[in-house]
Amino acid sequence: MTATSSEPLGREKRHSRFSLPNGGYRAILIVGGAIFAALVIWFLYSIVNQSRPAFSTLGFSWIIQKTWNPNLHKFGLLPFILGTVETTAIAMVLAVPIGLGSALALAYLVPQRAKVLLGTAVELLAAVPSVVYGLWGVIALAPLFREYVEPFSSSAFGWTGLFNGANSGVGLMLAGTILFVMVLPTMVAISRDVLAVVPKEQVEGAMALGATQWQVLRKVVLPEARAGLLGAFILATGRALGETVAVALVIGNSDYIAHSLKSPSATLASLIINNFGEASGTELAALFGAGLVLLVIGLTVNSIARALVRRAGGSGSVASVAVA
């Protein structure tokens, strides 16, 4: 370092007194890694151990039973698993085309100066706390959905049978939309990183052969970035699956399986957060069990996504580590 070489010799000497032998240094590093490993194991053990009573008193089938009613001692998780999958599906159906289109535009179409600005803006938006999105959803979007979006979708797409029931504002549709807004920055930021590392030679080669701009993107860039884009998709899915407070505020919280996109519903995470305060005994164990299901889904989704993004070489910068 240039800074240290300009310091007076005396100070150098004073500094060099605190040193550790190589073995001691290595040992401290290993302790650092070991503490993290121990925390992870403690974490996994706690969740598994505390949800065990649910499995022993209710059997394994409780996870896919339809009824959640603590008064009847029934703790079926199916409505919440479905709610989780449905809200995530709505979010991803919107996020994939819009996120991919925006990422392509950000990586290849936007002029250089705007690229940095827009790219930073997208990364910043990934950092907005989820409870702010939840507040916005319940105060600003819910009335909008009740007055305009839901009546419109009922009259325009009512024949599909997906939009039956009252216009209440809150419900699956709003929860899915909020999730879409929340995962979009993640989706765009990672996709853009993955798209930007496609070798320039390939892009230029295709252009030299007379391909149009879209042909280059469609036939060269997208196939090359396929694995990383899939990783971005799965990471965003993982975020949507586990999102808690924003969803709990806008989903309407019902213990029954939703029969329409306008119905109130609940996800695994919103179930836990809403019932945790009053739960005890088997119900509490069942809530921890819901957490375990969420954990298993989350771990699976994330390990697949990480492997894909890493193979694609997309997450190279410090910022992209934190965004993901």
Binding site: A37, V131, V132, I139, V181, R239, S303, A322
Partner: protein
């Protein structure tokens, strides 16, 4: 075509080239139209993506700024019906919880990050993978973990909230630290080795200073993410309508105020929620922008 004189229908390669050129010429109009349409759709999608994101920020600004009065910053949260409530206790809580989480996770995360950067064995691989996967674990699970592991023994307390938040920050700091440390030119540490320095000295005097911009960026981003989390706090710090600075007691925090007030039917509480949302969002965005600026500044200083 200059090659026309060599052209003969018998040459299969030239024949094929002419075919390709013919097809390209015949389809160029269609391809261009198609391309323009598709590129146009990409632009439209970019605009669609920007609209809700801009809307969230502008809406929070418009609703939150009117809530920012002197009382908002100096008074504690008050129940509905009692005027002039603020979020001072929540600000104190968020700062204390964030500070504890940061003070513990940064040294630990840096050690673990150094370990990851300097090891390539199976153990390092497993820990790296665990850190990657832990960054994506739903944050509510860290709240449940804090509740099971600590609240049941010690009761609701702010330091347990800091623990849960720290569990979210730790893997981010580790991986960001590792990425930054691996980015340091290996020649620098080799030069240190050649001068006879021990590894500890190389890490402390050469590698960590050189990796500092990346480490600071990662740490600030992790803090920004940690202080915005709500779900882990709901399970661990419980909330407290009085000013409390003792980390072994239940505390209030900004995300909790926003969450609890947003489902209330009272306009004044919702206005405080917006004020708190604006404050939290500004803090997070300032940390983010600050980390980028600082990283760029340190990078320039070095050159």
């Amino acid at each position: 075509m200059t090659t026309l004189s060599f052209d003969s229908p018998a040459d299969p390669i030239l024949e094929r080239r002419r075919q390709i050129q013919g097809i390209a010429k015949a389809t160029v109009g269609r391809r261009k139209t198609y391309s323009r349409a598709a590129i146009g759709i990409c632009w439209v999608f970019l605009v669609i993506a920007v609209i809700p994101l801009v809307a969230v920020i502008l809406y929070t600004l418009a609703k939150g700024l009117p809530a920012w009065s002197t009382g908002f910053f100096t008074q504690v949260t008050k129940p509905e019906g009692i005027p002039n409530g603020g979020v001072w206790n929540a600000i104190v809580g968020t700062v204390i919880i964030g500070a504890i989480a940061t003070a513990v996770t940064i040294p630990l995360g840096l050690l673990a990050g150094l370990f990851l950067a300097e090891s390539d064995g199976w153990a390092a691989g497993a820990i790296r993978f665990a850190a990657d996967v832990m960054t994506g674990v739903p944050s509510i699970l860290m709240g449940i973990f804090g509740y099971i592991a600590l609240v049941r023994t010690f009761g609701y307390a702010a330091w347990i909230g800091a623990f849960s938040i720290g569990m979210i920050m730790l893997p981010v700091i580790m991986r960001a630290g590792e990425t930054a440390i691996r980015g340091v030119d290996p020649h620098l540490s080799e030069a240190g080795l050649a001068l006879g320095a021990r590894k500890f000295m190389i890490a402390r005097r050469i590698v960590l200073p050189a990796a500092l911009p990346g480490i600071i960026t990662g740490a600030l981003l992790a803090i920004a993410r940690g202080v915005g989390e709500t779900a882990p706090l709901l399970f661990t710090i419980f909330g407290n309508q009085y000013l409390q600075a003792n980390p072994t007691k239940p505390m209030e925090a900004l995300p909790l105020v926003i969450y609890n007030y947003s489902s209330q039917p009272y306009a004044d509480l919702i206005q405080i929620a917006w004020g708190a949302a604006l404050l939290l969002m500004s803090a997070v965005l300032i940390l983010n922008i600050g980390s980028r600026w600082l990283a760029g500044f340190l990078q320039r200083e070095r050159r």
